[in-house]
């Protein structure tokens, strides 16, 4: 982990409220699921850094995919080519690789796509399910279709792309067709992660989930980002964001 200054090379809309940003900086190799903490420079607003998963890093270029939610991400959407941002990372623990004998299934919803896509682009094998409300909420669909060795499925609630329904429904259906040992990688809304964890437990699959929690530091010093696990509170930023789904206390 280190702090470095990055230049915005590109920042373009690629979907409903969703932007793909390319930053230029001397970063470090990363594991999919790891994230970075981003800060605008030259202003005290927003005061805190914002966590974003790393989509890719190669040849001094970091790719980030983010959705505009509140003040911080909308300021981010307004940054232009050539502006400098401060990057802290890579942070946290990423996804494990699928074992040779494991069939890999990737499930993403909402802002959960970047780490999942990063993993699929690394392993280049398995099946990827991306769920959204409607087709406009699925950015980078072309890119997902072009990962050699990875078979993508889209689910939309309104049926405007792929299967009508939710991602976990498609996941359940898929799991029934898989006989070999299986590992599920999921990132998205808590409801989706919980359901994925349940399906995994039912089918005996291994399941890793990447969890979102409000963060202040991102490197383990403030205790903002805890999640309840079977062994007590864990910090999402350093002990996660990727956890074995069976260790998470999902609550009711």
């Amino acid at each position: 982990m280190k702090e470095c200054s990055a230049l915005v090379k590109d920042n373009r809309r690629v979907g409903q409220d969703t932007y793909l940003m390319t930053l230029e900086c001397e970063f470090s190799p990363f594991t999919p699921g790891q994230f970075l903490m981003l800060r605008l420079t030259g202003t005290c607003e927003p005061f805190l850094r914002r966590p974003l998963a790393i989509l890719s890093y190669r040849e001094r270029a970091i790719e980030l995919l983010y959705k505009v939610r509140g003040g911080g991400t909308s300021l981010l959407a307004g940054t232009k080519k050539g502006e400098a941002l401060s990057v802290l990372g890579p942070l946290g623990k990423g996804f494990s690789d699928p074992k040779p004998e494991e069939e890999a299934v990737y499930v993403a919803g909402g802002t959960g796509l970047p780490p999942i896509l990063a993993l699929a682009e690394k392993t280049r094998r398995g099946r990827l399910i991306i769920g959204a409300r409607t087709r406009d909420d699925i950015p980078l669909w072309n890119r997902m279709q072009n990962i050699a060795g990875v078979e993508p499925t889209a689910t939309t609630e309104d049926g405007s792309l792929g299967i009508r329904g939710v991602a976990t429904q498609a996941l359940g259906d898929l799991l029934e067709t898989i006989q070999s040992p299986c590992v599920i990688y999921a990132c998205g809304p808590t409801g989706m992660l919980k359901q994925a964890a349940r399906l995994a437990q039912g089918s005996g699959a291994r399941c890793e989930v990447s969890i979102e929690e409000h963060m202040a530091c991102g490197f383990g010093v403030c205790s903002a980002c805890v999640v309840r696990t079977t062994t007590g509170n864990q910090k999402v930023c350093t002990q996660g964001p990727v956890f074995d789904a069976s260790c998470i206390e999902w609550g009711i």
Binding site: E3, C44, F47, E213, H214, A216, V221, A224
Partner: protein, 303 residues
């Protein structure tokens, strides 16, 4: 040039820049980013007798030029600290100030006693906690309760004793004097301000705990006034805390009367700010031709 600063008999920092409690954990994470020996001292996360799990999430939230936190004093407990964290901190050439709290006088006293060991340079009492016995009134809100508490802790330790005041009181000077008369060696002014934020879409508070503590640049002007007011009323050193992000902020607090400064929230957004603040301070002193940090402390010109 001499940038060392004295906080108590036997406690002299090599420079006036400290971490603040709760934004530095127990030092390990920051030690991977820079050599902790750079710092005048490290103030640890607030400890309690037993480990504590803290509040429900969300525990932090952004506010204009600041942040709210309601961590709820989650910590690993004093035993784990002494066993697992203190030896590590001892490997650096810096002072170790252990922040702690309790919910009863006895608990504070017991903590102070347990911390009266090698490797601990000083202890910092956080009095922004409810006194369960007195029906939940915070120790830091009543001068008599505070005075008694400090006096009791004073008797339980040979270490320099720092009392960290709550800012949200009518007469901060009375609280400061109560702590000084109870035997405090130094005062930290001050902790976060009780505050809250609301989400107009969910109609719910932004924090799991409803209210939290406001910190960051937003509170700096209030914290600065408190340091100015307190340092003119007490005879013991004052440590400043509240919104310090730059060397200029540090200079302002020193001019107002602080003998050292704690950097909290700013180090969450910029973990390397400590070095920049120390360097900026040195450059300032060079530019102004000042020989010693005491040429800054309390030198605000108001006439």
């Amino acid at each position: 040039m001499d940038i060392s600063t004295r906080l108590a008999p036997g406690l002299c920092l090599k420079n006036p820049v400290l971490s603040a409690s709760g934004t530095f954990a127990y030092g390990e994470e920051f030690s991977r980013m820079f050599d902790l020996s750079l710092l005048g001292g490290v103030v640890t996360k607030g400890l309690s007798l037993l480990p504590s799990e803290g509040n429900p999430t969300p525990r932090v939230c952004e506010t204009p030029c600041g942040m709210l936190n309601a961590i709820g004093l989650e910590n690993i407990g004093i035993d784990a600290f002494i066993e697992e964290k203190l030896p590590f901190l001892g490997t650096f050439d810096t002072e170790v100030i252990v922040n702690f709290f309790g919910t009863a006088e006895d608990e504070y006293a017991q903590m102070a006693q347990r911390l009266d060991i090698e490797g601990v340079s000083a202890i910092e009492m956080n009095v922004s906690c409810p006194n369960i016995k007195k029906g939940g009134i915070e120790f830091g809100k009543d001068p008599q309760i505070l005075n008694r508490l400090v006096a009791k802790v004073r008797k339980s330790t040979t270490k320099p004793l720092v009392v960290k005041l709550s800012p949200m009181v009518t007469h901060i000077g009375e609280m400061a004097l109560a702590a000084q008369e109870g035997g405090a060696d130094a005062l930290t002014c001050s902790n976060t301000f009780p505050a809250m934020a609301i989400d107009e879409n969910t109609l719910r508070p932004m924090l799991g705990n409803v209210t939290g503590g406001l910190s960051g640049p937003a509170i700096k002007p209030i914290a600065l006034r408190i340091v100015w007011e307190v340092s003119r009323q007490v005879s013991i050193p004052v440590i400043a805390s509240g919104g310090i992000t730059s060397w200029k902020d540090a200079v302002h607090f020193l001019l107002a009367g602080a003998s050292a400064v704690e950097i909290g929230s700013a180090s969450l957004r910029d973990p390397l700010c400590f070095g920049a603040i120390i360097e900026g301070l040195i450059r300032y002193m060079q530019d102004k031709g000042l020989e010693s940090i005491s040429d800054i402390i309390g030198r605000l010109q108001t006439a």
